[in-house]
């Protein structure tokens, strides 16, 4: 049995569809708030909260909680590690896609 290519092993923390969507949105902005992430990813409040906690624990995102006009506001940004890992993950997915293409 051939040895798996270490470079092609996907990051399980990132590969979950909800978390991949969150990190992809955040990779294109400086920071975004909870409502924006909910709108763009289509996740429920509970799911988004849970995914953000996991990403924060993994050191991929930084969460800042504050009040805007007396309403709680949760702002999320990628950490440098998170930015690097999501870019690497998309590169790996792209490589896998190319490998799966039938060779002509």
């Amino acid at each position: 049995m051939p040895e798996p290519d270490g470079d092609l092993i996907l990051d399980r923390l990132i590969h979950e569809p909800g978390r991949l969507a969150i990190l992809t949105v955040l990779s294109s902005v400086s920071d975004a708030d909870f409502v924006f992430l909910q709108r763009t990813t289509g996740l429920t409040k509970g799911n988004l909260s849970s995914h953000l906690s996991k990403l924060e624990d993994g050191g991929l995102v930084e969460i800042v909680k504050s009040f805007v006009r007396k309403k709680p506001n949760t702002n999320v940004a990628l950490t440098p590690v998170g930015r690097e890992r999501i870019a690497r993950h998309w590169e790996q997915l792209e490589r896998l896609r190319k490998l799966a293409e039938p060779s002509s």
Binding site: T24, V25, V29, A32, D33, F36, Q38, T41, G42
Partner: protein, 197 residues
């Protein structure tokens, strides 16, 4: 959602806040009425009051968008592009309108509506630079530019009509942008909406 849609969500949020164009369009209409000294708009204080009211309306609409669709800070790259687009817009606005038709000695003094053309170009540059250009932007602003370039604007300065034409274009674009934003970002998913699934 695919990768591109997710990555362009921030651009959509920034560029498709179409209802913000309503006070801007109204400002252009009021400016045209003021220039033409129509009714109470001949008084400059009326214009200033209207500007203050429209500025308040703009802030309220912006608050609605922030609360409904969320806040997002564009990336440093997007912010740089926006600054460049704003600077280019000032140059285009002054340059095009002066070149096409003005009292400047180097003006071509063509029978065109330079205000309509300048507005069309400025908005197109802004949308393209920000990466938020859509087909309806090109169609409406293209139509505005063509209407302004038609050699039928003889006689006195058609700047006021140009302002009204630009206002109508901005209003229509804004309404279409808002519809597109609502369609793109969709309704909020609640725990209840998942319960039956």
């Amino acid at each position: 959602m695919d990768r591109k849609t997710l990555e362009s969500a921030a651009t959509a949020n920034a560029y498709l806040r179409g209802l913000l164009s309503v006070p801007i369009a109204l400002l252009l209409f009021v400016a045209a009425l003021g220039n033409a000294s129509v009714g109470p708009f001949r008084h400059s204080w009326v214009f200033l009051v209207v500007v203050a009211v429209l500025a308040g309306a703009y802030l309220l609409i912006n608050r609605y968008y922030n609360d409904t669709f969320g806040r997002v800070t564009p990336s440093a790259r997007q912010q740089s592009r926006l600054i460049v687009a704003t600077l280019a817009s000032v140059v285009i606005m002054i340059g095009v309108s002066t070149l096409l038709r003005s009292r400047a000695p180097w003006s071509l003094d063509l029978p065109v509506n330079s205000i309509a053309v300048a507005f069309a170009l400025v908005l197109l540059v802004t949308f393209i630079a920000g990466g938020g250009v859509r087909l309806h932007h090109v169609a409406i602003l293209g139509a505005l530019a063509i209407a302004g370039l038609l050699p039928v604007w003889h006689g006195s300065d058609p700047g006021n009509i140009g302002l009204v034409m630009a206002g109508v274009a901005i209003l229509v674009i804004g309404i279409l942008d808002h519809i597109l934003l609502v369609r793109t970002l969709g309704p909020l998913v609640t725990e209840d909406s998942n319960a039956g699934a």
